[in-house]
Symmetry: C2
Subunit: 113 residues, 2 copies
Amino acid sequence: MSIAEPITCCAPLDQPALSAAEAVATAELFKALGDPARVRIVNCLATANEPVCICDLNGPLGLAQPTVSHHMKKLVDAGLVEREQRGKWAFFSLKRDAVETLAAVADLKGACC
Amino acid sequence: MSIAEPITCCAPLDQPALSAAEAVATAELFKALGDPARVRIVNCLATANEPVCICDLNGPLGLAQPTVSHHMKKLVDAGLVEREQRGKWAFFSLKRDAVETLAAVADLKGACC
DNA sequence: TCGATATATTGACGGATGTCGATATGTCTA
DNA sequence: TAGACATATCGACATCCGTCAATATATCGA
């Protein structure tokens, strides 16, 4: 929306490198990890070298089964996690490229320093 | 709270590396960047090599002055940004070490790959 | 096909969050 | 000291989010 605008006070900033749409997308990615339960889920998936059954997450997280299912959906929607059906069970694994993207953004895309 | 619990189905997970408190702290950090306005603010601070006056942010963001002030407080509270008073104006700058911490966490603390 | 089990969806609830207008606080200048 | 200006705080509002119980859907085994 209103990006351009004359700036008179202090030192003028360069046009922000991120567009409004990019900022929304970036925020969505960070928001996906903005909950302790999802941080721990991602941590579990990261430390495991194989896809993890969701049934292994229900207990340790101390959350009800629908709540865990809700968090997994959020992570999948954010593109951080992949879902795989194995018979009766649902297995989830980390999407390495998405995590690398997240780390790159957190590193401010090299603009920092 | 309830971390330990016998797991029978599928492949048992190792004890999560992150404690509950660590997960909360990590989530707080990510939550600070879970809003488009704050992403753009951090981007501005990152692309600028000097502290930035908050008056330069009010216009380009298209938000009311109290709202920008609110976001700056969130970023300061999260430890990502530092506030500095210069006479009548408030200048903000990125805390490089905090950003590096965030990038390291996003990189899953080296546990990934 | 039927029952058992695993997971997802729905609906509801309380609390957190982003936003703004109005106002307060703080700092410079005359 | 008084007025002007920059920023922060307050109060209110709508919306979003995490959580759970209840229920639906899907898959396996008998």
